[in-house]
Symmetry: C2
Subunit: 399 residues, 2 copies
């Protein structure tokens, strides 16, 4: 097991200051583009001169482009700047036991190319070799050079480390125990790599190109193999001391409820998850394998699916109330490997508790939103993590 994180915060210097300010400026341009430099200066608290220098550097590096001039009232019209979407890219890679997804996303958060590769083996060497192959293919098809990549976000099944959920029957990858995944992929891809779980990645995907664009604190309920929760608080990803935060599936919502594979009773996952739909439908002899299958059943208005929705909504509502009370987010997003219209239906059935800190007047957004990234959410999220990191300053620490 990893030792308790001895988070050591690192000192700053001129170089790191510049890095921070580049991120600040880039983030402000993303948020307000097209925008002039004087305005960026006002937002950031930097001098116009500093902003000028930084934008010049960012333009030289291909992150920004001039975007006309804005004449508004008197004075010299501002030269406006906008993100140069095609200037840099992030790769997202989702590794599952039998398949791997890849996504190439540009600075603007737009998906440029995607790829799906079947995996013969989920062992480290096989996966990392396949990932590089996939990356090269994506780059060639998109006409993007390796130097334009900011990094890769790899989404792998958690929980990470030596934890107490091993009996949950989660389809973990083989032979990755004790392997430094970050290093393995960094070597194979020749890129900086971030390893993340699906829920967190999906959450960040919504920030970069989905419904969370204007949110800074929100939670994302992810229907994956299990049920995960991705948390973004004040723009920062919440990982927990051991990187396993957001294990929503094994929250107990009903003492003495359904028996869960983890040994406990009443886990949320036994009511609301892909596993639970599948089990529910199997009782009627229906075998559902893919998202498409579910979508068909839902469009056909199958009664067994409807009854599952009815049974899933209350526990999920309860969990959302809990999340609202604990995290006080601007919104809760629901998404993942489920058909959009099924999720919409489910959201419609929720009865959110009225006694929650989230029940305030004049909310700018709905309490519950449906994720916009569809079933590619995780892979897209991997790339989004990279993009997000280029825009978001954070305190530099080392283990």
């Amino acid at each position: 097991m990893k030792p308790v994180s001895k988070l050591a915060i690192v000192g700053s210097n001129a170089e790191r200051t510049r890095l921070h300010n580049r991120q600040v400026v880039l983030g402000l341009v993303r948020q307000h583009q097209p925008v002039g430099r004087a305005e960026i200066a006002r937002f950031s608290g930097l001098s116009t001169q500093a902003v000028s220098n930084i934008t010049a550097e960012l333009e030289k590096d291909g992150f920004l482009n001039e975007a006309g001039r804005e004449v508004r009232g008197r004075g010299l019209p501002a030269t406006q700047y906008a993100l140069n979407s095609g200037g840099a890219f992030g790769v997202g890679i989702e590794v599952r036991p039998e398949v791997m997804f890849g996504t190439l996303v540009n600075l603007g958060g737009e998906t440029v190319k995607t790829k799906r590769v079947a995996l013969k083996s989920s062992a480290p060497h096989a996966v990392s070799v396949a990932s590089r192959k996939m990356l090269d293919d994506l780059l060639i098809r998109a006409g993007v050079k390796h130097e334009q990549l900011l990094g890769a976000g790899v989404v792998m099944p958690g929980p990470f480390g030596d934890v107490g959920l091993s009996g949950t029957g989660q389809s973990e990858l083989m032979d990755w125990d004790g392997v430094d995944a970050t290093q393995t992929f960094e070597k194979a891809l020749e890129l900086p790599v971030i390893i993340e779980n699906d829920a967190t990645a999906a959450a960040v995907a919504e920030k970069v190109s989905g419904v969370a664009k204007d949110l800074n604190s929100y939670c994302y309920i992810y229907f994956g193999t299990g049920l995960g929760l991705g948390v973004v608080a004040d723009g920062q990803v919440l990982r927990g001391a051991f990187g396993n935060a957001g294990e929503l599936g094994h929250i107990v919502v009903a003492p003495n409820g359904h028996l869960c594979a983890c040994g406990n009773r009443g886990c949320l996952e036994t009511y609301a998850s892909r596993l639970s739909v599948r089990n529910h439908l199997e009782k009627s002899g229906l075998s559902v394998q893919s998202v498409k299958d579910l979508e068909k059943l839902h469009l056909a208005g199958h009664p067994d699916l409807a009854s599952w929705l009815q049974s899933a909504a209350p526990p999920l509502s309860q969990a959302i109330g809990m999340i609202e009370n604990l995290f006080d987010p601007e919104a809760v997003i629901i998404g993942g490997a489920m058909p959009d219209n099924l999720l919409d239906h489910l959201i419609g059935l929720l009865t959110l508790p009225s006694g929650s800190v989230a029940r305030r007047t004049g909310r700018p957004v709905e309490r519950v939103l449906r994720g916009a990234s569809g079933r590619m959410a995780a892979a897209l999220g991997g790339a989004a993590l990279i993009i997000h990191n280029t825009f978001t300053p954070r305190i530099v620490a080392r283990a």
Copy 2:
């Protein structure tokens, strides 16, 4: 209602860099004292020269003291530095409807003086005037000058803003609606002020002078008027988008369970809180007002108290499992306005779920710890927030 936080991250410059590095150095000294400058340089990544300059400045400002020399093997013995506990102080103020507590805490986290004042009125003007009076009294009794104060942490009953928990019968303060509490206290105390809720304050108190000294990610279950959760993640306090994160009391632990004042059923607060003990004991005609009363009953081994403990432990265990799964903390701390031995007893009765990400091998600390700050936790926490802020760099943002 406050609008959705438009978190705007601010640019950095040489001055802010120095501020950051001062905090880094101060934090490292606190953690490793007594410690030499070369060692601080290694920990922080700064050059020895920079560390020398910064320690000199910190010594001049009264934050650090030389603390002898350490001879270890060859080479010039390092001049060691340690915190100058008496060099600076933080004030903590807990405001309750009828009473106010004050604490003066030094840089080392030690409580120097405390005071209790009855409040005739809980209206803004009366409270702020009384707070200044209390502060001045604390300073005189402790022989501390106003200039030595780093700031004040004021703990007030939440939830803040216009939220949906107003029907919970929580004893809120009068006439504070729409009042800018921070400004009110800053004016009265002539100090920088942080407003915080009791649970978060108590959590930080444990970091500064309690059982969380070596923890960076942990949660604190606070028995106050209600039941709150303070969360520290990677050394940073989690507040939520509207400052109301950690509303643990109204988490539903039993669908269709006890009716709660908030209108929902099965809230954790109806099982495990001071309110719930009081109600439980009232059924037998016992009236418990103070912590002392509870302590006496517990020492006497009163059967009704024992039965409450038995009934409170399972829902609380469930909640802790949930917290572990969602936040993945290094430990969960339990404390607040309850007798220590009662809490210890309660902790002994917990049956923590085995299927939790917290159930890992080789844990350096227990999963559940009892808070060390006793019933002054909140007021102490207010001061601790100030001290903590002196040691902890964070990304500067503005609304």
